[in-house]
Subunit: 310 residues, 2 copies
């Protein structure tokens, strides 16, 4: 992946936009701001952030090679369209966001991509994890971003990696998707927060792992159930796609090494009684995506280069 | 995929070898024989079958463009090696079976490939199902053969598609893999036969579906549990890889349309309460691989063309 000249990468979320300037493979500028809602709001706030980043690194927008942007919702990268990005107030289908942002930026080349794909590209790059990875995104929900032999796997209906909606507990509670006991209800940031609400302002996941490390029996139980569900998600990814690396990311990754160690330890326990799993050596392929890494903005800039030959 | 001249495809199993001659995209000859055990036995029996097929279609072995062979066990197609094909009496690792069979056939070009991959290639071709498919093989075990955008997905450790060892019932019985309640214990030919042994010489699956269709309450219960597990396997494939078509094959496909209808009906029931699943439209993407199709030998011949440019 070679980028000639500076490229801006944007991670456009429901509340915030994170941006970076990538030049010669290095991040030379970063910025963030709130996301305005609706199509016009998103285009304006993204446009302003790009202009701010250019001022920050001392170039004009016209000097950019291009802009890559990751967005939630259903993204058609080839056509530059986004649909149903409801948490940004975009309820319409087929919004030509790439063209609108390009026009806002005086004709700059713009590529849009799904936010999970962008995070996967960025995490694989920043962790030097090769081109055959799954990013397990433990956020509000649970999904896996898949890059197989360098190719993003989105699926025929955009459903590739939707492992959060594979049932995990036969008679579990109702999921918003209409099924029961979905894995997302056990292995996601929202699931963890529901079982262990933060009492002191720290992220719920950090508070839980800390309390468990200090011997709180309730915390140990909640943590172990959460870890078992995350390990089950890893196993599903490994026994379907068998990728070279499974990267654990999303908000819950704020816990850091204790999360990685706990999930790897759970899987190693399984490997102790299963020669089949031991052969698969899944635990050895786990990596943590440090929460402080700008995986999504960097991945968005790299996504630009995947589409546009520069 | 173009084949210049006749190619022999072989499906080498633990007890039988099925072979065909593919010429100009058409099957012009078929044959089968028993498999002799051990490396020498497999090479000899495969060699004799190729010679017999050539006699059948009136050509010499030297006139073949080549031979493609599907084998159980761990197959390294690039190096032409097979390891641990224990049900053919090949316990060694790294056996150069492609070279040995080539030598046995006077230097004919030989390509070997994993049997599940070969069946997937053949099923996709014979059903005209495109190049983005999963073959759900319901045989002694349960595994999915994956062809994603035309590329076979074997995985880093050959574990791609090993969905049979994703746990399905939390406190289920012990699986030979060392885990408990694996999906293979519920959704495979062996699982079905264990719950409904054939009493009249017909395949167990055919007898079960027939008894259930005639209102036998026990049969209805066993059938519905089996169908639910197969539908769960389809859902796992759809929510991880989201392939264009999921093909239901393996020995259990002998049941025919009633199997396809039952699995599709189960998934449509889920879709009735889940908008997410309804959007995925999984049931519409199901196809049955008729048991009488020579998917594996035809796939083996096509596998030759994927590797050797002719």
């Amino acid at each position: 992946m070679s980028l000639v000249g500076p490229v801006v990468g944007l991670d456009i979320g429901g509340t915030k936009i994170h941006g970076c300037v990538l030049d010669g493979g290095r991040v030379v500028g970063t910025a963030r701001r709130t996301t305005e809602r609706g199509v016009e709001g998103v285009v304006d706030s993204a446009g302003e952030l790009v202009e701010g980043l250019c001022r920050q690194v001392g170039i004009g927008v016209a000097a950019l090679t291009g802009v890559g942007a990751g967005l939630p919702g259903v993204v058609d990268t080839t056509a530059g369209l986004v649909s149903h990005a409801v948490n940004m107030g975009i309820t319409e289908a087929g919004v030509p966001l790439a063209a609108l942002l390009s026009a806002r930026l005086g004709g700059a080349a713009v590529v849009i991509e799904n936010d999970l794909s962008v995070a996967t590209i960025g995490a694989a790059h920043l962790l030097d994890a090769g081109d055959d990875v799954a990013l397990l995104a433990l956020g509000t929900g649970l999904a896996a971003g898949l890059m197989l032999h360098g190719e993003l796997r989105r699926g025929v209906r955009g459903g590739a990696g939707e492992i959060g909606h594979i049932p995990y507990m036969a008679d579990g509670p109702a999921c918003h998707c209409g099924q029961r006991g979905c894995l997302e209800l056990y292995a996601s940031g929202a699931a963890l927060t529901a079982r262990w609400p933060s009492r002191d302002g720290r992220p719920a996941s950090v508070a839980l792992f800390d309390a468990a490390a200090h011997g709180d029996c309730d915390a140990v139980r909640v943590r172990d159930e959460f870890v078992a569900a995350v390990a089950a998600a890893v196993r599903i990814v490994a026994l379907t796609c068998d990728v070279e690396h499974v990267l654990i990311g999303g908000g819950v990754a704020e816990v850091g090494t204790p999360l990685l160690d706990a999930v790897a330890g759970m899987i190693r326990g399984w490997e102790g009684t299963s020669r089949f799993l031991a052969h698969m050596a899944i635990a050895d392929r786990l990596r943590l995506v440090p929460a402080e890494l700008a995986t999504a903005p960097v991945g968005a800039a790299l996504a630009f280069a995947r589409v546009v030959s520069v």
